[in-house]
Structures are given as structure tokens and as C-alpha cells.
Amino acid sequence: MGDIIRLSVVLALICMVAAGSLAYIEGITTPVIQQREAEILAERLGQYVPDADSFEPVDVDGKEFFKALKGGQEIAYIMPDSRGPGYGGDVRVNVAVDTDGNVIAAEVAGHTETPGLGDVIEDPDWLAQFEGKGVNDPIAIGTDIDNISGATVSCRAVATAVRNAVEEIGAAFLGIAMAEWDLDAVEDGTYTGTGTGFGGDIVVEVTVSGNQITDITIVEHSESPGFWENAEDAIPDAIIDAQHYDVDDVSGATMSSIGIKDAVFDAIAR
């Protein structure tokens, strides 16, 4: 019994000394680290909006944004770390949007894509295509943004992140309603929507009757035969069953599945 107490006391004492010294070192290093990170962020923000003379962090519904100010006037908004699902995890993009809701700068802040393939999304020349795009643009690979062959999924992740940032900033600061999936608000009728599949645009017509999706017709696609049919057979039926666009993808036809789902979302929400 005495032995156990001695063991515990010695171990606890060592842990206490360790914890105390770590707290002391952390007190010294944390301000230095935070100051450096703030400097890096400030430098990056300054590159996005060179006209701004100061930046102010804002918290909207738990999301972090920055307002770019010039002489007290808001001239742009920045959403750091907007995310899109890439090949190896989320791709994080910093997006700056002006007061008209148009992108003025997009930079990949971090990603875990495949070196040599997916990391081409860091290319500033490719990212420059996003500049000038706004809430009314599709911001989709193959539609108004060029793909980089060999990095389709990574490019798509960046486009998703930029579109997300544009919509978030529009909703938070510019009074532009976000595209939302709300069947109850949709009047009866037939709506056309576009999504991006593996081979290009997929156009669908969605018929809504009594706040229910009753029919989904594929109008146009250029997907690969042999794969496409699997998605074409399963996804529209699944969406009608679920009355929701977010259904499971068909294995072997993931891109086509996502394309159909995006098109249906586009038809109903936008």
C-alpha cells in the first residue's frame, strides 16, 4: 500500500513540475507565435486589397471574416479559410470580395492534395480566373472556370470554396440571400439547372408539383458511356425518393453523380 502511494506521489510530482515548466514556456512563446501569424495574415490581406488602410476582424454567426477599410469606408470583405472538399481533404482558400459582391482575389491558404498533381491549384495565373466573378456567376469548373487536366477534383474544390465564400460574404454583408434548398418556397413548374460532371455541363429539368419533386429529366450531358448510365439510372430516382438533392453517389460514376445533384440543386435553389 505504502509503495503504491510513493509511486503515485513521485509520478504526480514529476508531472506537476513538467506542467509548470510547460506553462511558463508557453507564456513566453505564444505571444511571439500569435504576433507572427497576425503579421502573416495582415501581409496577405494587404496583398488582396492593396487600397485598404486597415482591416477589422468581424464575427458573423460564428464565422470569421475581415472587413477591409479605407478612410473608415468598407471597400471589401475577406473570408479566410473557405473550404471545399478536395482529393486529400479540405482545400482552404482565402477569398476577397468587393462591395459589389465580385471576387477581387483568391489564394489557396492550405491544402493536402497530391504533390505534383493537385498542388497546381496554387498557381496564381489559374486562380486569377476567379477575379471578377460574382454571386450571379456559376463559378464552376468547365463552365466559367478552366479545369487543369489531372487535377479536376482539386480544381473543383477551389471553385466550391470560392463560390461558398462569395455566397457567405453576400449573405453576411451585402444582403444577398444565399442559395438555399427550400422546396416549400418553390412554386409548381419546371425548372432548369446546370451542374458540372466529368465531361462537362449536365443540364436537368426538374418538375415541382405541390412542393414535391415529381420528375427529373436529363436534358444534356457529355459523360462517359458505361459509367454515366449508372448515375443516370440511380441519382434522379434517389433524389425523388428522398425529396432532397444530397443523396449517395454512385460508385464508379462519382463525378456524374455530383454533376446531377449540383444541377438539381441549381434548378431548385437558384
Binding site: 509503495d3 510513493r6 509511486l7 513521485v10 509520478l11 514529476i14 508531472c15 513538467a18 515548466s21 510547460l22 514556456i25 508557453e26 513566453i28 512563446t29 505564444t30 511571439v32 507565435i33 507572427r36
Partner: protein, 199 residues
């Protein structure tokens, strides 16, 4: 037993990487360049030296039954100190070594020296052992890192010296090159130890 002997044994005779094959995870993982090898080597040396000092000082206090948890707490503390200090004051090196710094905790070379040496020997010998082993570890990492940087990038310590026409062996910059490079280093060490009749 002499202090100089405890120091020098770590460099050739009982080199932790090339003779004892301890702590190979960081050896293979970070040695893409000589600079990374040097940084990792020095960080490990610092942790090894500090843990040897503390373990040696506490060797009569630490009960036999809980010695391994005690050693690990001591080692983990110093690793966290290195991690935080490097992040604050050497951010570029920290960005390169990233994931591997916390992994120094489980580098079996450090726990091995605490268990096999520092917990049984007095302070001066333990300091000498820690520095010697650390230097041996660092030398091995710089050798492997330098070899991979020369072959894989045509440079040494970021100084490019090869002519334009030299096409670097991309394999040496990749993890596979670490295994190949370590194989050659071990072969060279085996040759040397035969010559010196170490076995």
C-alpha cells in the same frame, strides 16, 4: 569508464543510427535536405541531453516500477518545449520539420539512453553520453540529408553547385530514396567497422 570515452562512443562505435539502428523514423522522414537533418539532429540532441540530465539527477528518486512513465513525461516535456520554442523563434525550420518534432517523444534512441545509461550513471557521464549520442545522431542525419540533397536536388545546404545539365534523381527526394540512401550509409559503416575491428 571515462568521460571522453562516453562521449566518443556515440559518434562511431555505438552510433545510434548507423550501429544501433535506433530512431529510424525521423532519420528516414526528415532527411530530404542537409538543413532539415541538422535541425532535427540538434533538436533531438537538445532533448536527449536534457532528458539525460534530469533522469540522471532523479535516478535515486524515481521508483523502478514507474520509471518508464517518468522518463516519458520528462522527454515529452522537453520535446514540447523544443516544439513551442522552434515555432516561435525558427518558424521556417518548424514548418519543414512540422510533424516530426512531436515524434521525438517516441524516438527510441532517447528513451533507450534514459533507460540504459542515464538511470544508472552519474551526471557528468550522462551529460557526456547525451552529447555524444546526439552528435552521432546529428552526423548520421546530416550525412543522409546531404547525400539525398546532392543527388535529389543537386545542392547542399540550399547552395546549388551542379551544372545546369545535371538532372537530379527525383527518387532521392522521395521517401524511397531515404531507404536507398540509408542502405548505402549502413553498408559504408559496416565496411568501416570491419576495418576498425569494432565487432
Amino acid at each position: 569508464m571515462s568521460i571522453t570515452k562516453e562521449f566518443s562512443k556515440g559518434i562511431i562505435k555505438e552510433n545510434p543510427v548507423l550501429r544501433l539502428l535506433l530512431g529510424l523514423c525521423p532519420v528516414l522522414g526528415v532527411t530530404t535536405t542537409a538543413m532539415n537533418g541538422l535541425g532535427m539532429g540538434l533538436a533531438s540532441t537538445f532533448v536527449l541531453l536534457c532528458s539525460n540530465i534530469v533522469v540522471s539527477l532523479l535516478r535515486s528518486v524515481i521508483p523502478k516500477k514507474v520509471r518508464i512513465p517518468c522518463f516519458i513525461v520528462v522527454i515529452a516535456t522537453f520535446v514540447t518545449i523544443v516544439d513551442m520554442s522552434m515555432n516561435a523563434f525558427l518558424p521556417d525550420l518548424h514548418a519543414n520539420l512540422g510533424l516530426f518534432i512531436p515524434l521525438i517523444v517516441v524516438n527510441c534512441m532517447i528513451l533507450g539512453r534514459a533507460e540504459a545509461f542515464a538511470s544508472k550513471n552519474s551526471l557528468p557521464y550522462s551529460i557526456s553520453d547525451g552529447i555524444g549520442m546526439g552528435v552521432g545522431f546529428t552526423v548520421a542525419l546530416v550525412l543522409l540529408g546531404g547525400m539525398r540533397e546532392i543527388l535529389g536536388a543537386g545542392a547542399i545546404f540550399d547552395y546549388s553547385f551542379t551544372p545546369e545539365a545535371f538532372e537530379p534523381f527525383a527518387v532521392f527526394a522521395s521517401p524511397a530514396g531515404a531507404f536507398i540512401g540509408l542502405g548505402f550509409l549502413l553498408a559504408g559503416m559496416n565496411l568501416l567497422s570491419k576495418k576498425l575491428k569494432l565487432d
